[in-house]
């Protein structure tokens, strides 16, 4: 395995690592505001139509939603574990952990697809087949517009993350990372954990309202 060298603009690998991390955090700050705009719109309309949003949330599939939360939290745990042991040159085990996390991501997307298909059958998709009646129908439609945009954008992020984890896993398997050089896996981990954080908030906003008697 060839010795890793810093790119020409950096003094050493440590500085390169710090810069890569800062760059990822800048990107994640833009992502915070990207999803934040959606959450602001949701909050404003939830304040405006509290009963409609509570009724709409009762239409969501909380078993799938909670399972998917546990799946993403577990995959984040595996990635955090891999990021630590790759510095000890345990690349083979780190690769297995990363691919395990990617597999959990695939299961997340499959369950999301099951959920979407159930919502299609229940005529809950605005712009496609939304067909609920009653005094809260308009608010429920607003809720599901947010639901499909937010979870759809989140699913795109999960899909990108799966590809990144698989590629980084291959590099880890090739023993490319060490205590001195591990920026790519650390930065990829930051992205995956951020996708997890977005889901933590989406879960609380989408699945939990309106459940109490």
């Amino acid at each position: 395995m060839p010795e890793a060298h810093p790119a020409f603009q950096f003094v050493d690998l440590r500085q390169q690592h710090d810069v890569a991390q800062l760059g990822m955090w800048v990107f994640l700050a833009t992502e915070v505001l990207f999803f934040g705009g959606l959450i602001l719109a949701y909050s404003a309309y939830r304040i405006g139509y509290p009963e409609g949003f509570a009724e709409a949330a009762r239409h969501t599939k909380i078993v799938i939603g909670a399972s998917n939360t546990a799946i993403l939290l577990t995959s984040s745990f595996l990635v955090a574990w891999a990021v630590l042991i790759v510095r000890l040159r345990e690349g083979r085990i780190a690769a297995l952990l990363l691919w395990g996390a990617a597999a959990l991501g695939v299961i997340f997307l499959v369950l999301k697809g099951v959920e979407y298909s159930e919502e299609y059958r229940e005529h809950l998709i605005p712009g496609l087949n939304f067909a609920l009646d009653g005094p809260n129908a308009g608010a429920i439609k607003l809720f599901f517009a947010f639901y499909f945009v937010a979870t759809g954008l989140h699913a795109v992020h999960v899909a990108v993350g799966i590809v990144v984890l698989v590629v980084i896993g291959i590099r880890a398997r090739q023993d490319a990372y060490s205590d001195r050089y591990h920026s790519p896996i650390t930065v990829a981990g930051l992205y995956w954990h951020f996708v997890d954080i977005v889901w933590i908030f989406l879960f609380a906003l989408i699945y939990l309202p309106g459940r109490a008697p």
Binding site: Q21, W25, V26, L28, A29, V32, L33, G36, G37, I39, L40, S43, A44, Y45, I47, G48, Y49, I62, A66, T69, A70, L73, T74, S76, F77, V79, A80, W81, I85, L88, E90, H123, I125, G127, L128, N129, F130, A131, P135, A137, G138, A139, K141, L142, G189, L190, H193, F194, D196, I197, I200, F201, F203, A204, Y207, L208, P209, R211, A212, P213
Partner: protein
């Protein structure tokens, strides 16, 4: 060789996150009124802080990285605070029920 074993802090964080998930689902079914929303968001914030501090290793990072990490959330807080201060204090928000167009009847074709 056991050095690839997960550190205890990661295991505790993972268990804690799953426990908080169970707690938030349980709490959502308790009749707490407006506090249901507060509880759900407080637990979500707690889970996010665990992920940020432990999984994303922010507790081991220098002040500059933490400032970069906090910047996005800082501006998000300003956006939510100013915008929602507007919406919750408007006398006529919402102005009425949202417009309801049925998707089940296709638009007339010409």
């Amino acid at each position: 060789m056991t050095r690839w074993h997960p550190p205890r802090i990661l295991l505790f964080s993972w268990a804690g996150l799953l426990a908080l998930l169970a707690l938030t689902v349980f709490g959502a079914y308790q009749p707490l009124g407006w506090f249901n929303t507060g509880l759900a968001l407080t637990i979500a914030l707690g889970k996010a802080l665990i992920v940020l501090a432990i999984f994303m290793e922010l507790r081991e990072r220098n002040a500059l990285t933490i400032a970069f990490a906090g910047a996005g959330f800082f501006w998000l807080a300003i956006m939510l605070w100013l915008a929602l201060a507007d919406f919750v204090t408007r006398p006529n928000f919402p102005p009425g029920p949202p417009m309801m167009h049925s998707d089940s009847t296709p638009p007339p074709r010409s």
